[in-house]
């Protein structure tokens, strides 16, 4: 995978497939980007699990916080990492020991760790780096266009409502042929 330029269908495929997302490094403070992303994804119907050793046992947005990935008592589809690039490798190594293994490792905007990416891809996982799933969801669902953001998508099909409110849109179907 070219990690400088992801096809839209790669991102859409991931966001349409995963259901349970563990967010490593989430902040309990409501003005932090990790909190924003967690809340947004929760509201879009994902099962969100907060991971932060300093907050273990507490609740963030009514979800129980775990100290580490291996403490989570259920399968995880995607690990979303809000840690500085140099701290990513141990998180990925821990994720790869989970049974069953997650399908996706996602590193947040500004975060890249090539070694961790290679390791995960060698085990058959999909990897995304230096992207925010909230921004990508907003971009591919057209919600972000309400903010004048260049979504870099064109379509003659109308965007689909998520069905849980007038201002929440769905991602639309993944294009199977282009889904790589």
């Amino acid at each position: 995978m070219n990690h400088d330029n992801y096809p839209d269908n790669y991102i859409r495929g991931i966001l349409n497939t995963v259901k349970t997302i563990a967010m490593v490094g989430i902040s309990p403070k409501e003005n932090r980007p990790s909190y924003f992303a967690f809340k947004y994804l929760l509201e879009r119907g994902y099962h969100m699990i907060p991971v932060n050793p300093g907050q273990a046992g507490k609740l963030i947005l009514n979800q129980k916080v775990y100290a580490r990935l291996s403490d989570i008592p259920e399968p995880i589809d995607m690990v979303d990492i809000f840690r500085a690039s140099e701290h990513v490798l141990p998180v990925v190594e821990e994720a790869l020991k989970l049974q069953p293994k997650p399908q996706v490792i996602w590193m947040q905007l500004t975060i890249r760790n090539e070694e961790a990416a290679r390791l995960a891809e060698a085990e058959g996982l999909k990897v995304v780096m230096n992207r925010c799933p909230k921004i990508e969801y907003g971009r591919l669902s057209s919600e972000i266009s309400w903010m004048g953001v260049n979504s870099r998508t064109l379509s003659s099909r109308r965007a689909q409502n998520l069905g849980t409110g007038v201002q929440r849109m769905s991602l639309g179907a993944t294009n199977k042929k282009g889904d790589n």
Binding site: F36, I111, V149, T153, L154, S155, Q167
Partner: protein, 457 residues
Amino acid sequence: MTGPLSGLSNHHNLGAGIECPLSTFGGTMPDAERTPGFATLSIHAGAKPDPTTGARVTPIYQTTSFVFDDVDHAAALFGLQTFGNIYTRIGNPTCAVLEERVAALEGGTAGLAVASGHAAQVIVLHALMTPGDEFVASKKLYGGSINQFNHSFKNFGWNVVWADPDDLASFEKAVSPKTKCIFIESIANPGGVITDIEAISKIARKAGVPLIVDNTLATPYLCKPIDYGADIIVHSLTKFLGGHGNSIGGLIVDGGTFNWSRDKKYPMLSEPRPEYQGIILHETFGNFAFAIACRVLGLRDLGPALSPFNAFLVITGIETLPLRMQRHCDNTLAVAEWLSKRPEVAWVSYPGLPGDKYHKLAKKYSPKGAGAVFTFGLKGGYDAGVKLVSNVKLFSHLANIGDTRSLIIHPASTTHRQLSDAQKVQAGAGPDVVRLSVGLEDPEDIIADLELGLKAK
């Protein structure tokens, strides 16, 4: 919790992917991710069919406000935690289509529509400047901008330092520790001047400040300043983007290229904002944070919102931008060539002409044409100028540019009337100067009308 922000600007990915029904391409699947061309973006960028009704043309959402799904949704919107519509002063779905359209055409990350080109400049500088700061601006600007910078902005404590685009060293000399940005026009109004964007962007980089380019006269069809190092684009939509002389409007494009967090120079972007519970906009919104800052701090609090109806008219105008701009340029070159051979004409200042001082820069920055606005001088001076504008029948005598209609003005007897002769000459508005904005009529008719005016007794 997040990593360093320095990598942000290096990873913005601006190629748009087209999602098309299979039938569009005759049943064969196109490449999964095509990069659409300029004409396609002019029609489609930002404008998917309406999600509620399926309306194909962007509806005019003529409403002040938008209902919330529930209390939590309202709170999330006000806290910038989710994307959506609250109130038309802050954002509107019709205006949003225009914003995304122009951002896509310029190759930027996001746009913000405002009430006029002047409002765009206020909002941009409001996000960058604090009282006592300086900004460097080209001397060769639209006269309205010169007034705004010299007088109104000084009342805010935003101090302009002028530099000469014909002397690049003057930009370097004008930079001081108080400088927060550099402001130029790509093709400068009243035409005839092409600014060396790339050279000035290097000076801005060295100074650690963003380069703002007013791209009104060129439009992204002729020149995309972000490709040459510009960080922020401002437009008067009133001119060629709208193109039909029916709507005032302005637009800001965030290039997504500037690192706002490198130092503490830009607290609107790099510091916790008391207006939004301590959010740091750059770390939260990444490479479109500048456009968000302009919206949620500048437009929200200063208020010059664009009417959705005006946005609709400009969106419709932009659909034909590539066709119109090429015709504007072709007509203008024909008119400039014709004028340069007339016995009544002393000089023609149009960079599209091979002998022009700015011809080389025009070939680099605006190769498809040098725009449609230019000036020329009459041997008969002031009286000849008055006579010309009084005797044309197709050209409209008025103070706008960038209309389908051909426009003419004699600055010395109108817009620059209050200045002394010496001041007029310095402003490029000497008694002999006539400015044209060449329209889309048949070039033979445009030329015949000028001939009528020149020959009149």
